[in-house]
């Protein structure tokens, strides 16, 4: 389905006199600290808005790049993917270089490539991986403060690993989904489906003082990774048992699980597509 902005720009390849648009795939990294999230908003700096403006400056075409998913304000990306169609016949490496010259340094295009016409960054994604970084030493260096959640006090990492393993597989993650104002209505309409399949869920200590959660899955509900991390932290502090995690999934009630961990520790690591 075409986005309104694409339609306005004649991006469908049918209504523009036969000249067909090229579909593009961009892979990008960003520091989300100073953006109001991914999604375009009037009068606010957002990653999607900066990207659309940069594409227009470089090619003269107005398109709305579609992300693999929205990231919230303060959430970072190492490998976000965006897709859009446009007519400008620019070689991929040149587009990447030209966009990086005009984008803020907090957003970098890692790769620009042609994509098949049916490719869509969100609809074509088959899996995503997120990481969440906890910093455990007393004083968090100012150069890390934007990219970690600093935690104090002892943590039982084995218990956190055990709780993380309990969410592997296919489950209804309603207990870990942000409260959605439209949810009651959606449930009434039988549209709510909070079942997701998690294929990786583990805690690692890549270096002293840093504790990193990595989670891969078929898809993620709003705030799901941050709610999982907040719950695992309560397990690490001894406020919950790791064995209780399965029960949390079963009862499908957001108020049963832990607090939402802060945005700044979260990175969209990568998005997976079928070749």
């Amino acid at each position: 389905m075409l986005e309104p902005a694409e339609e306005a720009a004649g991006m469908d390849g049918l209504e523009d006199g036969g000249e067909s648009a090229q579909n593009w795939k961009l892979t990008l990294a960003y520091d989300g600290t100073d953006f109001h999230g991914w999604q375009l908003q009037p009068e606010k700096a957002t990653v999607q808005g900066e990207l659309a403006a940069a594409i227009e400056r470089v090619t003269g075409e107005r398109v709305l790049p579609q992300g693999s998913g929205r990231t919230d304000a303060g959430v970072h990306a190492l490998g976000q993917v965006a897709s859009f169609a446009m007519h400008a016949p620019i070689p991929p490496a040149n587009l990447a270089r030209a966009l990086n010259r005009t984008l803020p340094a907090a957003i970098r295009i890692l790769q620009a490539e042609h994509a098949p016409a049916e490719f869509h960054a969100r609809h074509s994604a088959v899996a995503k991986t997120y990481t969440y970084r906890l910093f455990r030493r007393d004083v968090c260096p100012p150069f890390l403060a934007r990219y970690v959640c600093a935690v104090h006090g002892a943590l039982d990492v084995d218990a956190m690993r055990s709780a993380a393993a309990a969410v592997l597989g296919e489950h209804d993650f309603s207990s870990f989904a942000a409260t959605d104002p439209d949810r009651a209505q959606r449930i009434a309409q039988q549209e709510a489906n909070n079942v997701r399949c998690i294929t990786r869920s583990e805690w690692d200590e890549p270096e002293s003082g840093l504790l990193v959660y990595t989670v891969s899955g078929s898809g993620f509900l709003h705030h799901m990774v941050r709610n999982l991390v907040g719950t695992f932290l309560e397990v690490g502090r001894g406020q919950r048992s790791p064995q209780g995690t399965a029960e949390l999934l079963r009862i499908r009630n957001r108020s049963a699980a832990g607090a939402t961990a802060p945005a700044r520790g979260l990175f969209l690591h990568s998005v997976t597509y079928l070749e």
Copy 2:
């Protein structure tokens, strides 16, 4: 000599009824990106201003912490040192912890300690070390962009090393000093002394893509490190010969040397005091 703010707060230990003030030494790190430099300025966020405000919130005392030197807007510190005197009888570890709770995350107290009455962060310093970080790969990760200067194209690192070695020892660094509006007057008053002694000046590649200049010396003129780096970069690009560096020192003319490298790559690494 007392600063005005210290005088106003009765910090001299004589005019306050005999209760003598304790002298303090703070070691701190900061991300300078979002500050208008070290020095207190009305209506602007500065590191000295944030620190003074935090000390007042914690202890109720108004003091003006003296830095080992000013850092410009955008320059970072791994080990800046500040000194001040105050009456609050707070244990050093508690002061550090309390300040870190109230300071922005971009400023962290690494150590707070009592200091002898005669200690002054600037006057007592015997040497300083700065580092400057160049990033050489095509695309600079957004998470590094605040902390490096990204450079493109080939660099002759051996030539840069040779030029860096040429500034070792005692020299007049006028060619590398920022133009000072008061300088003509100071020269007339025979107060200008741009002679400094450099004891370390070298380029290293601690990891692929990162090129780091480290310089230690008895003291540094305004913009001196950034002007040295800008000049060494021109040597690396083949725009100057490394052999020309000695001549640059000899002619003592700012316009003969290279451009000023951007603030964001520069870190005040550490300040040395006699025990």
